[in-house]
């Protein structure tokens, strides 16, 4: 872009290596380590949680954090720390499921839209329509349709996320088609599956991984919002949003009910987002400019 021809510098480009990577991308690396810790603590919850997350104890209601209960107890005397650890499992499961589901569905629709002109117009109008409805509002509406369960939550969060993936995939497919056709006239005769495997999928992998990471972060957050509003995961499931929703009533006298699960929630979303930023910078500099 610049008209001044800067003298060529044979810059010492980064060489791979774990420590070097870490120093080059300190923030994403910290994010990855933090996320790993949260994932391990969630997966190991049944073994490391000091109490049964469902066990009520009328004597120990709303006990402040201390020696017996690290994060205190809730209005039913249940241990917040144990519930928070188990809540991580729910959030993680929902985050990963939504990321995979919306990426898979988005990939499918995006490829169809990018490849078949006829379907494109209709599919993209539908996507425009979906995008015109704020995601949380649509998810709330979807939640009202049937009895709440984790699976319904996953569907409700997935649907609003799909259009963004579709747009991304479609853009890649269109670019790749152009390039392939310019590259070789014979490519016109290339069969669709071959084009798909050889050219389209490899080009979508990097942006999709980045996008899926952001979607996972967003899904964890949206699940907590839905539960917080009372229209999410069924109340008996100890998801972070549910723990916080129950704790709202006692926020003035027992802030630990919402503080600790909120912090875990924030840390998980933060670590996934930071990891996403890092992946974006490493995998896809072009995407980095968009946001």
């Amino acid at each position: 872009m610049s008209a001044t021809t800067l003298p060529a510098v044979a810059a010492p480009r980064s060489r791979p290596g774990l420590l070097r990577r870490f120093r080059r991308y300190p923030l994403p690396s910290i994010g990855a380590i933090l996320l790993l810790a949260l994932v391990v603590s969630a997966l190991a919850a049944p073994w490391i949680a000091p109490h049964d997350p469902f066990e009520m104890n009328v004597v120990d209601r709303l006990v402040p954090p201390g020696a017996d209960y690290t994060f205190g107890t809730d209005a039913y005397g249940r241990d917040i720390f144990s519930r928070t650890l188990h809540g991580g499992r729910v959030s993680l499961f929902i985050g990963v499921s939504v990321a995979i589901a919306s990426t898979a569905i988005g990939l499918l629709i995006g490829v169809v839209a990018g490849y078949f002109r006829m379907a494109d117009a209709i599919l993209m109008r539908v996507m425009d329509g979906l995008m015109a409805i704020p995601g949380i509002l649509l998810a709330i509406a979807l939640m009202s349709l049937t009895r709440a369960s984790i699976w319904v939550v996953i569907v409700a969060i997935t649907i609003p996320e799909v259009p963004r993936v579709v747009r991304l995939v479609r853009a890649v497919v269109l670019t790749v088609r152009e390039q392939v056709y310019i590259e070789a006239a014979t490519a016109i005769g290339t069969r669709f599956p071959r084009l798909m495997w050889r050219h389209i999928l490899p080009n979508t992998v990097a942006p999709l991984i980045v996008q899926a990471t952001y979607i996972a972060a967003s899904a964890v957050l949206v699940e907590s919002y839905l539960s917080f509003l009372g229209v999410g995961t069924p109340p008996e499931v100890p998801s972070w949003g549910n723990i916080i929703a129950e704790g709202r009533l006692y926020v003035q006298i027992a802030f630990w009910n919402i503080l600790f699960p909120s912090i875990f929630l924030a840390l998980m979303v933060l670590s996934i987002n930071v990891l996403g930023d890092g992946l974006r910078d490493m995998l896809d500099p072009r995407l980095a400019r968009r946001l």
Binding site: M1, A3, T4, T5, L6, P7, A8, V9, A10, P12
Partner: protein
């Protein structure tokens, strides 16, 4: 020779900080003087440090890595390398102006032509906006833009490349600078437009008495415009002299190479590049210990590869930095 030069560089050193270790040097120990009304051409291939020399004078090196690492930039005896940022802003666009290579991208696409010229005047002369726009109109007339009243309110994308370069010139000269730095002002333009723009620069120079540093890789432009010539290679000055001295007896093999690569005027082979110098300018951080040109030079000896040749006088104002050139004159 007693007249004080309007601009002088003394041992200018421009460098870029790198992540680790010593900075890389882009312009090394460069000295030059420029007198009132004079045109000095700086010649060399891209990557030789010509543009960075101009940007160093205005202290507009790319942030945050570029910096002046040594030497002095004297504007009428005052060292700009030591000036404050506020003082530099006073000088830019007023005492020293610059025209850039790419007229297509060097004008702001979302502001009108008139506004872009007038704001220079406003910043430096503190006139009211109407007066500044009046000056802008006057400048558009001076650079011979047809229908200047209309153009004043147009945007850059509505003008052709040649017109935009005229606007750049109008903008640069709006505050009557004493020095004009022109960095490849015609490279991006059609051949016929090139000649018109060069004529315009020469005429305006005669009118305003500005001294011009013209940066180019085109020896045809040099022959047409220059009083004196400075040849740069890999950040070093390798030859300097009057335009006659350089064209009559180029002393440095690099200058000779450039001459041979130049299509002969009138031969009808304008764009064909015969006898191009083989090889490329070495990267900043990969410069050989001796003469930088040695790897591409047919006359290079072991001494050239190990020891940097100093600038040596060749009689008159002519000097060159080459072991072979010094030897042949002695």
């Amino acid at each position: 020779m007693t007249e004080q030069p309007i601009l002088a560089l003394e041992g200018l050193r421009t460098e870029f900080a790198t992540g680790q270790g010593a900075p890389v040097v882009a312009v090394n120990d460069l000295s030059l003087t420029l007198k009132r009304g004079e045109t000095l051409c700086i010649v060399g291939e891209s990557g030789c440090g010509k543009s960075l020399t101009a940007l160093s004078i205005l202290r507009l090196l790319p942030r945050p890595y570029g910096r002046i690492g040594g030497g002095r930039v004297l504007l009428e005896g005052r060292d700009l390398a030591q000036a404050t940022d506020a003082e530099m802003r006073q000088i830019r666009g007023r005492a020293i102006s610059m025209i850039f290579q790419e007229p297509m991208t060097s004008l702001n696409p979302v502001l009108t032509i008139g506004r872009q010229i007038a704001e220079t005047v406003m910043v430096h002369e503190g006139l009211d906006w109407t007066a500044c726009m009046g000056r802008a109109l006057e400048m558009l007339r001076q650079v011979r833009i047809p229908e200047p009243e209309r153009r004043l309110h147009e945007y850059p994308h509505q003008l052709s490349g040649g017109m935009r370069q005229r606007v750049m010139i109008a903008m640069a000269l709006a505050c009557r600078p004493r020095v004009l730095l022109a960095d490849e002002p015609t490279t991006a333009l059609d051949v016929t437009i090139q000649a018109q723009i060069l004529d315009l620069v020469r005429d305006l120079q005669a009118e305003t008495g500005a001294a011009v540093i013209l940066i180019t890789h085109d020896l045809g432009v040099v022959a047409e415009m220059a009083d004196r010539v400075l040849v740069m290679y890999a950040g070093h000055k390798v030859e300097e002299g009057s335009v006659e001295e350089i064209f009559d007896a180029p002393a440095h093999p690099y200058t000779q190479g450039l001459m041979q690569a130049m299509p002969h005027l009138g031969s009808g082979e304008h764009r064909s590049r015969l006898n191009e110098i083989a090889g490329v300018v070495p990267a900043l951080n990969a410069r050989p210990p001796g003469c930088s040109f040695a790897p591409r030079c047919g006359l290079a000896t072991d001494r050239c590869r190990q020891e940097m040749p100093p600038l040596t006088g060749l009689g008159g104002t002519h000097m060159a930095a080459c072991w072979a050139a010094g030897g042949s004159q002695a």
